[in-house]
């Protein structure tokens, strides 16, 4: 790196960490592929038998085995696998009969819609809560954050989903039940973006929009609760760190109003840190939706994954794992990169 700096001047000193960062991201993706590859290899199901059936004569079996490339060295097989995945070929699902990539593209928007609603709830409530809690330490809002943080750690999401269904659906009839929309309207809204709330608005179908909204609000709020607990806690600790700095004391001595001190002096510098936290939380929600989707029969990627698990549909399982992992890593590393680019302190 030092040599590069001498050769290309200051630009390279700035670029070198970035290049290293990109290398690490690529390595992480390769690692993910290696893990799914290994998982695919240790499955006790013989992939050849799955194709030729268990009554096939030995010669047919051997021919199929050769044709599938299972005789090649593992490294060759691995790189063939990587090549397939890069080209979007994730194999065919045994249970749906369609290519896994196609299935995943179809179910992904449902997950995205729910997780996005969750993160919107988490950010719009969590950030102000965290700021206020830090400004008024020991106040009731501070106590609430402590309780929420604990609850976020200790309560299983799938259980909270079931309890929510009992209370708000079965008892009070306030929200729609499992599924994305009233079954009578299922498939009636023309698909544009795959996000049902958006699609129904585009189609101008307010009845469908209301139905979709009543179905998404409970799982979305539950996901939102988990991200809120995390975001509020992190915002609070970032703010406390800033409020303890000397420049805040200076601002106070100068007589700046408390509102200005908190929102302009203390909150501004933590915005970049918050991006990372929100990114992590968003990625976590995409993962957390696996459980929630199962509870709410939400036709997203999580439901697809668990259904495939129960059917031992290995291509589908690995494809879904790969996609969730890739999205998770991308958001994760993306927010990290953003942090490095935006925060001058991280550049050193």
């Amino acid at each position: 790196m030092a040599q590069a700096a001498r050769m290309f001047g200051p630009l390279a000193t700035r670029a070198a960490p970035l290049v290293w960062f990109i290398v690490i991201i690529l390595m992480t993706f390769l690692g993910l592929l290696a893990i799914t590859f290994v998982i695919g290899r240790v499955v006790p199901i013989d992939p050849v038998l799955a194709v030729v059936g268990d009554r096939a004569p030995r010669a047919t079996y051997e021919a199929a085995r050769l044709a599938m490339g299972l005789d090649d060295p593992l490294v060759v097989q691995f790189f063939r696998y990587v090549g397939d995945v890069v080209q979007g070929n994730l194999g065919r699902s045994v249970s749906t009969g369609r290519p896994v990539a196609e299935d995943l593209a179809r179910v992904f928007p449902a997950t995205l819609e729910m997780a996005t609603l969750g993160i919107i709830i988490g950010v719009t409530i969590g950030v102000p809560m965290g700021v206020i809690a830090a400004a008024r330490q020991g106040s009731w809002i501070d106590q609430i954050i402590r309780v929420l943080a604990l609850a976020g750690y200790a309560i299983p999401a799938f259980w909270l989903g079931l309890v929510g269904l009992v209370i708000f659906y079965a008892h009070f009839r306030l929200v729609g039940g499992p599924g994305r929309i009233n079954i009578f309207m299922d498939g009636m809204v023309p698909v544009r973006t795959g996000l049902l709330l958006v699609d129904s608005l585009i189609a101008g179908d307010m009845r469908a929009f209301r139905s979709a909204f009543s179905h998404i609000i409970l799982p979305g709020t539950i996901l939102g609760f988990f991200s809120l607990a995390y975001i509020a806690r992190m915002t609070r600790s970032f703010m406390l760190e800033q409020l303890g700095q000397e420049y805040i004391t200076t601002a106070r001595v100068k007589g700046a109003p408390e509102r200005v001190i908190i929102w302009r002096h203390a909150f501004r510098p933590i915005r970049v840190q918050l991006i990372t936290v929100i990114g992590l939380s968003y990625a976590g929600l995409l993962e957390g939706s696996v459980m929630i989707e199962t509870v709410f029969s939400w036709p997203g990627i999580g439901n697809y994954l668990t259904t495939a698990l129960l059917n031992a549909d290995m291509n589908a399982v690995l494809g879904a794992t790969l996609v969730i992992g890739a999205v998770f890593i991308t958001i994760n590393k993306g927010s990290d990169l953003l942090y490095r680019l935006l925060d001058p302190r991280a550049r050193a």
């Binding site: 690490i24 390595m27 992480t28 690692g31 993910l32 893990i35 799914t36 998982i39 695919g40 240790v42 499955v43 006790p44 604990l150 750690y153 200790a154 309560i155 299983p156 999401a157 799938f158 259980w159 079931l162 309890v163 269904l165 009992v166 659906y169 079965a170 806690r233 992190m234 600790s237 760190e241 990625a283 976590g284 995409l286 993962e287 957390g288 696996v290 459980m291 199962t294 509870v295 994954l305 668990t306 698990l309 129960l310 031992a312 290995m314 399982v317 690995l318 794992t321 969730i324 992992g325 998770f328 890593i329 994760n332 590393k333």
Partner: protein, 304 residues
């Protein structure tokens, strides 16, 4: 002298005469600091209760966890069945009580597998530095950036459902955090004089790491393991809920919730009761872990 043993002054002595005295004194200070934190004591009480309930489950449980009578199926909570009965007429309270054994088994096994693994990887990485560090930490970071729950799901899918496989899958996803912590801790003292002193006395690398590096990484790892217990319990319950963990008729809490799903709208207690057990036990580990961190690892308070 013998009279003075275990007295406060003996325990808090600034210059202990034996190693045992120093250790006991340290333990006494730790317990005193913990006692001042009421929430940590609540957590400890919950953990102790879990241990007692698990140890004496057959004597505490009022009914058999596996046998029920079908005339009694899906009874609401009553004085005879505090948590009601499930679809096979089994007493849910008895099943929850026996389920504590499974939870404890999973949690302990995951801790016993993943903590030492992470500890060794982290200590070796930090102690040697250089390319060993780069390779090991690169490996750790790759595992660290994976979504844990999804990875556990995929591993169980490959290994097949069951408690042992669930434990392996969770342990595989849990160790990188401990490796990171142990490495960070090791870096703070790898160039310290006491390490050089041992090296110059001719101790092998293995001995230095085993006897001098790892013991110093223990406290922060223990704190982190305690804090992680809640997450491990939730993941295990999640795997059980999806039918990938403990198999019926074992009274695993997550699997019980899953069975209760079918009756959730009319017989709410079947699915919700085991959930309370999960919440309480997870809460216990969270509270105790928080208290332990404040005492053992005050500087680690900000990073979570």
């Amino acid at each position: 002298m013998s009279m003075a043993i275990f007295s406060r002054d003996w325990l808090l002595s600034e210059d202990p005469e034996t190693r045992a005295q120093a250790r006991l004194g340290q333990f006494y200070r730790l317990m005193r600091a913990l006692m001042r934190n009421p929430l940590a004591m609540v957590g400890l009480a919950i953990i102790v209760a879990l241990l007692v309930v698990a140890a004496f489950a057959p004597w505490i449980a009022p009914y058999s966890p596996l046998q029920g009578s079908l005339q009694n199926r899906l009874q609401p909570p009553s004085s005879a069945h505090w948590m009601g009965t499930d679809e096979l007429g089994r007493d849910i309270l008895s099943r929850v009580i026996h389920g504590s054994r499974i939870t404890l088994y999973i949690v302990l096994l995951v801790a016993v597998i993943s903590a030492p693994l992470g500890l060794i990887v982290g200590a070796v990485s930090g102690y040697f530095g250089g390319w060993v560090d780069k390779v090991l930490m690169g490996f750790t970071d790759i595992f660290l950036s994976m979504p844990r729950l999804i990875m556990a799901l995929a591993f169980v899918a490959a290994l097949g459902p069951g408690i042992e496989n669930a434990v392996i899958a969770i342990a595989i996803t849990a160790w990188p955090v401990y490796a990171r912590i142990a490495r960070a801790e090791t870096l703070t003292f790898r160039t310290a004089e006491f390490i050089s002193a041992v090296q110059m006395q001719g101790a092998s690398h293995a001995r230095v790491i085993w006897r001098h590096v790892i013991p110093l990484c223990l406290s922060s790892t223990i704190v982190r393991v305690t804090l992680d217990m809640a997450g491990i319990i939730l993941t295990a319950a999640g795997l059980g809920f999806l039918g990938l963990g403990a198999q019926p008729p074992l009274p695993e809490w997550g699997a019980m919730i899953s069975r209760g799903r079918a009756f959730i709208l009319d017989q709410w207690w079947v699915a919700t009761m085991p959930g309370f057990a999960i919440v309480i036990v997870s809460l216990g580990f969270c509270l105790f872990g928080d208290g332990l961190r404040d005492v053992l690892d005050p500087k680690g308070k900000v990073k979570v």
